[in-house]
Amino acid sequence: MTVALAPAVVVERSSPMRGATELVLRHPPSAGSVLPGQFFQIAVGAPHTILRRPYSAAWADPVSGRIGFIFNVVGAGSAWLANRHEGHELDLLGPLGRGFDLDGERPAIVVAGGLGVAVFPGVVQALVAHSRRVTVLLGARTAAQLLPADRFVGAQVQTATDDGTAGYRGSVVDLLKGVTSNDLFACGPTPMLQTLMRKAREVELPLSSIQVALETPMGCGLGTCLGCAAPRIAGGYLLTCQDGPCVRADRIDWDRMTDAFHG
């Protein structure tokens, strides 16, 4: 893995769903090397912040050299980032970590809760390109917070909202049915993932069939600070930045997993 420190130029900024910002950067080395599920550490210039912010690439296009990031404003760093405009330069460190293992033949199901959807446009595109049958299950609090289904070309999309304004009313995990011979790809809040693991046990889907993009607080992203610990089922901790962020769900002790703090 080569890791590059390089300036990237903002070429497009939009809001793909309520509360979220999508920044499109032009940076051919990153767009050409990132694997679906990998992340970057982005330097932010907000006053009194010091740490970089970790963001999974939402998608990348090696041909145009463009790479997209989708995020919510949750603190000073993301607020600063959401205020970048066309022509601004960003300092990117990456691509970092392990992406999803997309090999296999079985139909794929993507389970995305809230902003967990941000990692999946590129993943689904890659799965479709591998001729996998893909179902995307999207969950959000309300319809306006759902990433539009047209971002998942070639996949069947089902939605769930807490308030029932779109699709099924309730948890996105409830949309899972008859999944014992599928590969699952999941990202979302820890409580949603814990519900997903309980459901998987109920329907006797091995947790090794589920890959999760972990979200934990992160310091350096390089395996040095040991800040992004995630509890391992075998005891001790793995590092989200190095062993993840994409891991098989049977490696994680979901009972000890805490919800990520967003600063």
Partner: protein, 289 residues
């Protein structure tokens, strides 16, 4: 130099030109492997970082067998930071590493609580001296003692470890601090409190180094929030013989190179042959001025 805990054991630094470094100080190493604390382990505070990693490390045996032989092939010296719960722990690590190729020195983290009485070694000049003395007898390696700033009189601790045989002190370790997540109404760290590092503590660190450099005859290594060549020069002008970069390594992996080159440019531009030629002007407080 790069500070303990901010550079691992030197192997993860894919982006760093090690030739820019005077030395690498390793992650805190204990006699046996440690898993570290439950998450959440880190947080950000204004211009600072909060951490309570819990000394996650592979243990001294692994360091001696797997890492030291590789370090022996590097040009940059590696100093092992040593931590423990009791004096015997420090002594055990020091003994195991004594005389091994690839180990250039030891840095004692005396901010660890002593299990015997719960008090951190570094908070009490006598405890700190006892620890230093015991390790001094266990090793021929150069011995640096890393001082904690969470004391009333850091100079007293510095003098005590100097008298007990320390070859140098590094100052400072992190300040104890905390942050609370108001949305969830609970401390951000699972351990509630942790160590604050980063630019927020730089003026506090600088003053500690200034005091220590005036009082001690052994070298003082300055640490605390250095991110730029100018920051490093402040510590050198305060009397530090060398500096360590810490938190900035997480943010700008090439910071050591930038700081190193920036100091060289400054010396050149101001006509100083080398660091030793840098004049230190202590302000004089005139009673009747």
């Amino acid at each position: 130099m790069v500070a303990s805990g901010t550079f691992g054991y030197g192997f993860d630094a894919q982006l760093v030109d090690r030739s820019a470094l005077g030395a690498i100080v390793s992650k805190g190493t204990t006699p046996r492997p440690r898993e570290g604390n439950a998450p959440t382990r880190i947080g950000e505070t204004p211009s600072g970082m909060l951490n309570a990693i819990g000394l996650q490390n592979p243990g001294v045996e692994h360091v001696a067998r797997e890492f030291a032989p590789l370090w022996a092939t590097w040009e940059v010296p590696v100093i092992v930071n040593v931590a423990g719960d009791a004096i015997e722990d420090y002594v055990a690590v020091a003994r195991r590493l004594d005389g091994i190729a690839g180990i250039a020195g030891l840095e004692l983290n005396i901010s660890c609580p002593n299990v015997a009485n719960g008090l951190q070694f570094g908070l009490d000049p006598r405890l700190a001296a006892d620890l230093t003395h015991a390790v001094r007898r266990a090793t021929q390696l150069p011995l640096i003692v890393k001082l904690t700033p969470n004391v009333t009189d850091i100079v007293a601790v510095g003098q005590a470890v100097q008298a007990a045989g320390a070859d140098a002190v590094s100052a400072i370790n992190t300040f104890v601090g905390m942050a609370i997540d108001v949305r969830r109404r609970r401390p951000i760290l699972s351990r509630s409190s942790g160590g604050i590092s980063g630019p927020a503590i730089k003026p506090l660190a600088l003053q500690a180094v200034w005091q220590l450099a005036a009082a001690l005859s052994i070298p003082v290594i300055g640490i605390g929030g250095i991110t730029t060549p100018s920051d490093a020069l402040e510590f050198l002008l305060a009397g530090a013989a060398a500096v360590q970069l810490g938190t900035v390594n997480y943010v700008r992996p090439q910071a050591a190179r930038e700081v190193h080159d920036g100091i060289a440019t400054y010396l050149d531009e101001h006509g100083f042959g080398d660091l030793r030629a840098l004049p230190i002007r202590r302000s004089r407080v005139l009673a009747n001025a």
